[in-house]
Structures are given as structure tokens and as C-alpha cells.
Amino acid sequence: MRLLLTGNEAIARGAWEGGVTAAFGYPGTPSTEILENLVKYDGVYCEWSPNEKVALEAAAGASIAGARCIVTMKLVGLNVAADPLMTLSYVGVRGGLVVVVADDPGQHSSQTEQDTRHYARLAKVPILDPADAVDARAFMLEAFELSEKYGCPVILRTTTCVGHSRALVECGEPRPKNVTEFKKEPSRFVPLPLWGRKLRVKVEERMDAQSADASSHASLNHVIPGAAADLGIITCGITALYCRELMPEAPVLKLGWPWPFPDSMIREFAASVKRVVVIEEGDPILEEHVRSLGIACSGKSDVVPRCGELTPDRIFEIRERLRGTNNELPKPFPQADGLPMRPPVFCPGCPHRALFYALTKFDVIVTGDIGCYSLAVFPPLERTDVLICMGGGFTLAHGLDKAGEKKKVVGVLGDSTFFHSGITGLLDVVYNKGTSTLIVVDNSSTAMTGHQDHPGTGRTISGEPAPAASIEAIARACGMKRVTVCDPFDQEKLHKVLAEEIAADEPSLIISKAPCPLQIRRRLGTVRAIDAAKCRNCKACLKCGCPAIVVTADGKPAIDPQLCSGCRLCESVCKFGAIAPVAVPGQEG
């Protein structure tokens, strides 16, 4: 059966065909759709875990019981899950365990461009690198087999372009699930140093065996012949497809299983061509290894850009440079000259806009976090000053506070982020007597990645009712005395609460609670309009940064009734009473 699938859909399909019993993950672009698709298959247990570490640990338990399972996350999620991964490599698995990590070359939606292959080397586990949806399905099946063959977790690394591109995929039927039954074996499953040292030796032996296996594993690693032997390309992932399209005459060593390095295969390929170029996204991992084998090669040291996505355009430029027809190194981040960027903005009716607009009225430092609300850093709000990682919003604030920073520090994070890794930060602030003002912008959703559920929404990934954790109750249980829940669209009250809490000489938590308008799919209120007679053209409403407020040809602001969500923020901002609800036929809230 041929299906038209994205890479992420194909991974879900491959997992299902491979007899997966359980799947765990935390949403993160470009990995989110894998679990969202897998949950549609009957008989597979799927969950959104609070974070990636939790997801991998739960999967480890499932695998040790004998079940096949997968864990999904984006590249930075593996930073969170790195701790269990390192030890699981020693302890090993019973049922096939595949850690699916989606890298993001070009940083389309990520704070870093880290190359997950480094983690495979660090954890000493195999990594597979599909080029498209066809590979994605097939490699998922291979990953289960390798994981069970070697008794270790396997990383399936995709990239944004692999996960989000579609291809025709030949699909099969599912194999039976593994029988689950825990067998006691402490010398294997408890890595106390006494046993851990023995496991350490086994890991090295395993890698040698895998390197030899990878050199003869034709379904994963193979040479695509070319007509001319003067230039041979060593590559992995989607880059292989671009190279074949743009340099069809060059033989390509396509490494779907790039680590542990298939040394004998690399040597053999290099001997069959006059010149070798390694073209890989991310860091020069293959390239440096090829050189360590005593093989001279081109790569990131001369012709391939060091950062950014290797798009077909970049491959085109690399080709020109290899041919000596272009002497400039390809530019990593292509942008049309002189064109204004069009960054994403808060949607009309977004409660984050209301919260951050209120914060513009205070002379404080704001430490932010990962979520839609990261957009508060852009003009006209510009109300986020520092941002590092998931859960960092509270802890960064605490550090600034403890360093003796004179200004008050406000730490912001979202509801899903709070459950992901914000609770420990809140504990730190309370326990160590910080004075930061903490805010959870609670829209009851993991909104940025497409409205996934989390422990606070009262629903599981399958849509079943679940206990809804209360942020307020958790904060109080952690010892936080000052906790306020506030509607951000009630600007008067919000301003008052912010003023009180920022002035307080002890920590406090404000829960700014309002739903994501994209999720509830309706207007929040009646559409607003600007009365031209009352408008003094002070442009205060434009400082909300709402896409529904436009500047007309006469230079005055106006509200686009198609876009307006009726949130009333602009109305509360206007000092002249020029903004009011207006009846638009068929568009009442």
C-alpha cells in the first residue's frame, strides 16, 4: 500500500508496523506530529510526558519489561533527557527502544543548531539518519531491530525538512507486539560501579561490532553509483537527495547509519574515487573522522558552510565551488537583500499580549522562557530581556535577584513549561528566599506547537479526561505565600496586582489566566472599531502590536473586523474613548 506521508507521519507508521507498544514524548517543533499521528493507530499506548527526561525514563521501564517503545522530542529535548540516555546505554534495553530526535538545521524554530550525532557518540549508541519519509518509515523498523540485536537504545535523528516534507511511502502491516514480562537481572539493570565497570567494557565491544555491521548493512548504508569517478560524495540525511539531484554524475556514499562509523565502507568508497567531499548538515563529524582514517577530503574546512541548513541552494553553491567557478564561501542564512523580515506575531486576542503590554508599564527586568510568549521580545512590546531554555524563566530571575541586581526581576513562563521544568525553579525561589515576581502565562495549552495537552489541561493525548494539576495549589504546596490568579484582559486589575507584587519584598506568583483564542476557535468578545471623530491619532493602540490594528492611507489607525478577536485590550489602552464594540453582521462574539 502506497501512502503520501510526511517524515513524521512515516515515523509513526514505521513504529506501528514495528509493533510498538508504548510511546512517550514532549511536544517540540519539528517532532510534535509523530505522537499526534501514532495516537491515531489502535492499540498503541501514547502519552505526552511532562518533559523529555520523564518520557525517556518511562520508555526505559517499558523496554526493560520487554515492550518496543519510542520516545519523541526536538533537539533541545535531548539535553533534558541526556541523563537517562547515558546510563541506559550501559544498562541496555530488552524491547527495542528508539529515541526519535528532530534536529533543526537552519534554526527555523529552535534556539540552537546542535547536532544530535554528538549525543550518539557521547552515549555510544547507534544513530540512524533518514533522508525522506520513505527512509523514515524503513529506518524506524531497522532501529527496532538494531536496538534488540545489540540490546541498546538507538537514536533516529530527523531534521525539519525530513519531518515536514511529504513523499510516497510503500507501507506494510504491523508485526505482533513483544510479550512483556519483567525478568529480574540486577547485574544488568542496576549499574552500581561493581557491575557498571563490566557494562562499560561491553559497550566498547558493542561499538566495534556495530561499526563492522554498519559497513555491510546495505539497506542503511550504500553507494549510489555515478558516471564520473573524479569526485565522490560522502553524506547522510536529506543532503543525499539534494546532492543526487544537483550532482547526478557523482557517486554518493549515503550513510543512513553514520555512527558508529562504517570504517571499511568509507575506506573502500574513498579508494574508488579521485577526490572525496563530505557534505553533511551540522558539525563536521563525518568529515573529521574521514580525515582521521588518513583520507584527504573537502568539507566544512573549505567548501561547505559551517552553519545553517544545507538547502538545495547551498548544495548548488558548494557544487560551483568544487568546480572552481565560485570563490566565495556559501552564505549560511539566505535572505533577500533589503526586504523586511516578516516574523511571527501574537495573534489577535492573545492573552500574552495583554500580560506583556501591562509589563511595559514597569521598570523591571523580565526573564522569559520558551513558548509563544517568547515573541514578547519583538517590538513594539520588547518586554523580554533574557531567555535561555525551558524552565529558565524563573531560575534566571532568581540568579539576577541573588546577584544583587537593583531592579526588580520578573520571571515569566507558560503553563506547559511550568510542568516541564518550572516547578523546581519556583521551589528554588521560595526555599532560598528570593524576591522575584514569578508569572505563569496560563492559556491551558501547549499552544506554540499546536495545542497539545499537558498535566494541567485535564485531558490526555487520546482526549480522555485526566486529573488537572493546579498551578496555584502546587505553588502553595512549595511554600509560596503570595499567589494571585488574574485575567490579563482586565488591565486595571492586572496593573494593580503587578504593582503590588513587584513592590513586595518576598517572592510571589501571578497566574495570568486566559485561553488561547486559536484553540477555542471563537472571538473573545464583540469586534472593536475606532471612532475617527474621537481618535486623536496618538497611536497608543499600535503599541499593543495587534495585527488587527492597521494604519490606513490617511495615517490613522483602524481595526480590521475580520481579524479582531474582541479582546478589548486596545479599548482599555485608548485614553480618548475612541475604541468601542461595534456590531458587525454575523461576527458577534
Partner: protein
């Protein structure tokens, strides 16, 4: 590069249905028996940012992304994204733009589907295939409204 491949580039702003329209073209090409690949770039948020999607179909497609200068058809649901796409166009690229639609269609939420209608003046896929796909994508009266928008775009109304 083989001219057996047709390259269609969709550009617009988040929320305009770029991904939906490109998915529908991909599905249409698949049902007509072509090899087809599609890629999409959507930014970190759902609304307001630049969005683009490449659809390539023909006998055998390797890369899902259209190389520089190789676009046969540019479907620009937002006029201001045409310049952003300029490096991917060539002298012969057909540009389908909002001004090809009636003023009402151009500003409606169905502009993406009406523009698939305009595109089909060139691709000439069977109209009933499109209408089936539209009804599969949008249920009930919304589907029928989109079918009419498609027909107006395709000059079939």
C-alpha cells in the same frame, strides 16, 4: 535537471492556508499517478509569519525543495511575499496572485482555494478531482463554498 518535474511554490502569511493548499495539490498529483514530494517551512508561531511550501511532481522526484530559479508556478496568497520568493523564480515562472481573483475572493478566507482554481487553468487537472478533494478537506457548507471559490478561480463559475 529534468524538466519532467513540475515545480510549484506556495508563499503567504501564516493563517492563509498555504500548507492546506499545497497539501491538496500534493494529494491531487498523487491521485493522478505522479511521483510527488512536498516540503514546507512554517515558523515558530502559527499566525503572521512568512510561510512557504514547495510541491514537486513528475516521473521521479528526488529533492522535496525547489532549487533556485526553477519554479514553474508561484502561488502567492499574499502579494508581499512575491519579492521574498524572487530568487526561486525565472523569466517563465507563472505567478498566481491575489489580483487574479475578484476583490471579494482575494480578501476572503477561501483565497487559497480560489487560487488553486487559477493554478488549475494551467495545470488542467480534472476539475472533479479538485472538487472531491475540497469536499474531503472541508465539511458541509464550508466545503460547498470552497468549491464555488475554486470554480470562480478556475473560470468555471
Amino acid at each position: 535537471m529534468s524538466r519532467d518535474i513540475t515545480n510549484v511554490l506556495f508563499v503567504g502569511i501564516g493563517g492563509q492556508g498555504i500548507i492546506r493548499a499545497s497539501d491538496m495539490l500534493t494529494e491531487a498529483a498523487f491521485r493522478l499517478g505522479f511521483d510527488v514530494k512536498k516540503s514546507e517551512l512554517h515558523g515558530m508561531s502559527q499566525r503572521g509569519g512568512s510561510v512557504s511550501s514547495d510541491v514537486r511532481f513528475g516521473k521521479k522526484v528526488l529533492s522535496p525543495m525547489v532549487p533556485v530559479g526553477m519554479t514553474d508556478y508561484l502561488v502567492a496568497v499574499s502579494e508581499d511575499q512575491i519579492e521574498v520568493a524572487r530568487p526561486y523564480l525565472n523569466d517563465a515562472t507563472v505567478i498566481v496572485r491575489p489580483s487574479d481573483l475578484s476583490a471579494d475572493d482575494a480578501k476572503s478566507r477561501m483565497a487559497n482555494i480560489a487560487m488553486l482554481g487559477v493554478l488549475n487553468r494551467y495545470l488542467k487537472f480534472p476539475a472533479d478531482l479538485w472538487e472531491t478533494l475540497i469536499r474531503e478537506n472541508f465539511a458541509g457548507p464550508v466545503g460547498e463554498a470552497n468549491v464555488l471559490a475554486f470554480r470562480r478561480g478556475a473560470n468555471l463559475a
